[in-house]
């Protein structure tokens, strides 16, 4: 351990100060305590990147564990002479437990393994949701996998053209608004599709994200090829007494979210009724009663967010299924689009799985290399995807507004008499 080499990192060191948790201080403390060369080298390489304003990681490198086509990302330094301890510095994605609850016994054991077999650095968590172990060498990959599966009952997450690790919000475990069992569904889908998660067979990545309500805390609508967002189809539950308590100033609006600024006394008209996007609410000042025309409500949840003690989602619950979100590469960013406005979701979720498998079959058959589902839907047309591929009935909920151009791709069978016509007959009626 005597030959530990430390690097001068004056720029990186400037990130030790300030109030926000300093990753630099954390990594250096760990490096000193455990005499971990990889940590010193990582900070050294980061300093070089700060100097050059360029990354010093090489492009790719295919590594993995036997039988899996994902879960490990190969990473090599382009400064192997300077920073030999990170010349290979692969990432291991560990599939997180749904909604990221842990017990210290599990985390401690994982930490021991990672001290032993890796850099001791990790991400809690990666953007997709995995627990990301950051930095190990190729020879350690199989032992890490054996440790995870034999000693921790854990498994790898997805990467590459696989199903990516599904993720979900905290759901009914700790939220009164969740309209579906997000963890149960997330776990079920993850287990059902282990093969798709571990062995690449798709044109590109595919993400499932599950939020319990339209507040969408896991950003399903922006990030997932298949977005499952809980909602309700009946009426918002109202506790009129609690509404009056808000109006009377006894309860803090928005659960106290605005507590550090004086916004004046709560005004239900201004803060709830007038902000309702469908104008479906009415506060009767004389009766001291809130009325909601639920038929016209679009479930934006503003009123529920403002008065959580008084209003709750209905009890006939399920989810809206949307598809096709992605980041900008290549044709620009897409939000998911409504496919099934309301689906009841109870184990074993056969209705959802049928939809998923139908979608995958079509995408795997027709998707181009690295074409996300959302791009394929655009290429063939949402109408064709809904009607011809999924066999669903087209409804106004599928669009924000009807098309404004008249270029309908009529099919021959839709047109009386078909398309085969006799030009001689035509010219008899219309001499040229």
């Amino acid at each position: 351990m005597a030959d530990i080499k430390k690097h001068d990192t004056p720029m990186v060191d400037e990130l030790k100060g300030g109030p926000w948790p300093s990753f630099v201080d954390d990594i250096y403390s760990y490096a000193e305590k455990h005499q971990k060369q990889a940590c010193f080298d990582l900070m050294g390489q980061l300093e070089l990147s700060y100097k050059h304003k360029e990354t010093h990681w090489k492009h790719g490198g295919i590594v993995g564990v036997f039988g899996y086509g994902g879960g490990v990302i190969g990473r090599y330094s382009d400064q192997q002479d300077k920073f030999p301890a990170i010349w290979a510095f692969h990432t291991v994605r560990v599939n997180q437990p749904a909604s990221k609850w842990y017990h210290s016994s599990a985390l401690r054991k994982l930490c021991e393994m990672w001290d032993h077999r890796g850099s001791g650095m990790l991400n809690t968590h990666g953007s997709t949701g995995d627990l990301v172990l950051l930095g190990t060498v190729t020879e350690q990959l199989e032992p890490i996998f054996f440790d995870l599966t034999h000693q921790m009952n854990m498994d790898l997450g997805g990467s590459g053209s696989n199903l990516r690790t599904p993720s979900c919000c905290v759901g009914k475990a700790r939220c009164e608004w969740s309209c579906i069992d997000t963890q149960a569904l997330c776990y079920d889908l993850t287990m059902t599709y282990q093969d798709e998660l571990h062995r690449p067979a798709f044109p590109y990545k595919f993400k499932f994200k599950i939020s319990g309500c339209p507040n969408d805390c896991v950003a399903a609508i922006a990030r997932a090829d298949l977005s499952i967002i809980g909602t309700w189809i009946d009426d918002i539950r109202i506790d009129q007494e609690a509404v009056r308590a808000y109006v009377g100033g006894e309860l803090k609006p928005n659960a106290g979210a605005h507590s550090d600024r004086d916004w004046g006394p709560f005004d239900i008209q201004k803060e709830v009724i007038d902000l309702c996007p469908t104008q479906c609410m009415h506060w009767d000042e004389k009766e001291k009663k809130l009325y909601i025309n639920n038929k016209e409500c679009n479930r934006c949840m503003h009123c529920i967010n403002v008065m959580p003690e008084a209003l709750r989602p209905g009890t006939d619950t399920g989810a809206t299924i949307l598809m096709g979100a992605k980041a900008p590469i290549l044709d620009g960013a897409q939000l998911s689009t409504v496919i099934v406005p309301f689906m009841r979701l109870e184990p074993p979720y056969d209705n959802l799985k049928e939809l998923i498998e139908k979608t995958w079959d079509f995408w795997m058959e027709n998707g181009k290399n690295r074409e996300r589902l959302g791009e394929l839907i655009q290429r063939i047309g949402l109408n064709r995807f809904i009607v011809d591929v999924l066999g669903l009935k087209p409804i106004p909920q599928h669009v924000r507004e009807p098309r404004s151009n008249p270029y309908v791709f009529w099919k021959e069978e839709e047109v009386e008499g078909g398309w085969d016509r006799d030009v001689a007959e035509f010219r008899k009626r219309h001499p040229a």
């Binding site: 990186v12 100060g17 109030p19 990753f23 201080d25 990582l42 990147s49 700060y50 360029e54 990354t55 990681w57 492009h59 039988g67 990432t91 599939n95 437990p97 749904a98 609850w101 842990y102 017990h103 210290s104 599990a106 985390l107 054991k109 930490c111 021991e112 393994m113 001290d115 990790l122 991400n123 809690t124 953007s127 930095g135 199989e142 054996f146 599966t149 034999h150 009952n153 905290v170 069992d181 776990y187 993850t190 507040n215 969408d216 609508i221 922006a222 928005n254 106290g256 979210a257 605005h258 600024r261 949840m301 403002v306 003690e309 709750r312 980041a327 590469i329 044709d331 960013a333 184990p347």
Partner: protein
């Protein structure tokens, strides 16, 4: 709620495997490179979530009725059973060490029977069931600092605050970034620290960072997005390209058809390679993703674009994309002062002018983007006018605009 799900949760116990000590030699005994399938366990998936639920969470699954943020960072949830739980939310750097995780475990053991969770936005949440423990936990968290004084566990990130920044790897661990991630996030959060631990804003402000256009951080629907961009077309390594790239895939990877196959002669040897029509390049980097012989990274060329006004939630207005307001800020490690300055300026202008509940994008739409640029004193440039696909959607095709300082009568 499904009774089946509730019952399954009640019956799930913490896996005993975690209480057995870690054996650092076991894997080498089990793994046989000659027979790779021997002793191999595959496709077991993640541990069942319910074993990690604290007792109060397990018991009250699906029974929660309401919540209240009793102070920034502390949310009290009430159950129909009469139980309550306090969730204490703390910021986390995301890039952490096992020693940090062990400290999290120590806190969880001391106050929370060992249970802890992470949020989607990289915050940590500790759960306690009585006020006395809550006060002790909060006191304890406040006192824990790194050697140079930064908080290990700053409490906040609830309500009308700036919560933790969702971000990517940057120069710490990625091969395509145009910027660092952890360093920029640290610099921004140091400056906005007061907004993390307070409820002073009109609504929550979600900041996200992606270190290149691949956007692993999905920043495209954030109130404030920090995006790493390239501005120089890819280099082409003619002598190496045919050995490391599939040329048809590289050609197909360009969304603008700016890459063509080519043949060159190097030392009398014909080499297959590509040529890039540089005028057409939009610097997306998709070619480099496909081909290591086409690097884009450049210390002068790369930097930060700021996009604002996106949101995810369906609350009041539908989810929306963030819009490009500052096309380029140079990389300024280690503390990115220009980026930090603009983010603070945008945040505080919003805080000063927006109405209660109004998200940044809703505010900008209400006052008009022309007014947004004027109030934030951001110079408007032609680079904020879309010229990619569907650009027409953003053209002004009405007389509904305001006469801000941008208008010079002709």
């Amino acid at each position: 709620m499904s009774d089946k799900v509730y019952e399954e949760i009640q019956n799930t116990q913490l896996d005993e495997i975690f209480s057995k000590p870690y054996d650092p030699e076991l894997a080498e005994k089990l793994y046989n490179p000659q027979k790779p399938m021997e002793n191999r366990i595959t496709d077991i998936g993640p541990p069942h979530y319910a074993q990690f639920f604290p007792p109060v969470i397990k018991k009250n699954y699906g029974k929660w009725v309401s919540h209240e943020i009793i102070q920034p960072g502390v949310i009290k949830y009430k159950s129909e059973t009469g139980d309550v739980v306090y969730a204490v939310r703390v910021g986390c750097a995301r890039l952490v060490t096992t020693d940090y995780i062990r400290e999290v475990c120590e806190i969880a053991d001391k106050y929370c029977d060992g249970y802890v969770r992470w949020t989607t936005r990289n915050n940590i949440e500790f759960h306690v069931t009585d006020e006395e423990k809550l006060r002790a936990l909060l006191d304890d968290l406040k006192g824990r600092k790194f050697p140079n004084g930064s908080y290990k566990f700053p409490v906040g990130g609830t309500g009308a605050s700036v919560t933790n920044i969702v971000h990517t790897q940057g120069w710490v661990h990625c091969h395509t970034p145009a910027i660092d991630a952890s360093g920029v996030v640290k610099a921004v959060m140091d400056e906005l620290f007061d907004y993390f631990g307070s409820h002073k804003l009109p609504a929550q402000v979600r900041i996200a960072l992606a270190c290149c256009l691949n956007m692993c951080g999905a920043v495209h629907c954030s109130d404030i997005a920090i995006l790493g961009i390239h501005r120089k077309p890819p280099l082409v390594e003619d002598d190496r390209l045919q050995h490391v790239c599939e040329i048809p895939l590289v050609v197909a990877a360009c969304p603008l058809g700016a890459i063509k196959p080519a043949t060159v002669e190097i030392d009398g040897e014909k080499k297959k390679t590509v040529r890039v029509n540089k005028e057409r390049c939009m610097f997306c980097g998709n070619c480099y993703t496909m081909c290591p012989a086409m690097p884009l990274a450049d210390g002068e060329g790369d930097g930060i674009a700021i996009l604002v006004g996106g949101k995810i939630s369906n609350r009041i207005s539908p989810p929306k994309f963030s819009k490009l307001v500052i096309p380029f800020i140079p990389n300024e490690p280690p503390r990115w002062p220009t980026t930090v300055k603009w983010i603070k300026k945008i945040l505080e202008t919003y805080a000063q002018h927006a109405r209660k509940y109004e998200r940044l994008g809703e505010w900008a739409e209400r006052i008009g983007w022309e007014r947004f640029f004027e109030l934030c004193e951001i110079p408007f440039t032609e680079k904020s006018i879309d010229d990619y696909r569907l650009a027409y959607d953003t053209y002004r095709t009405s007389l509904h605009f305001k006469f801000t300082s941008h208008v010079e009568p002709m």
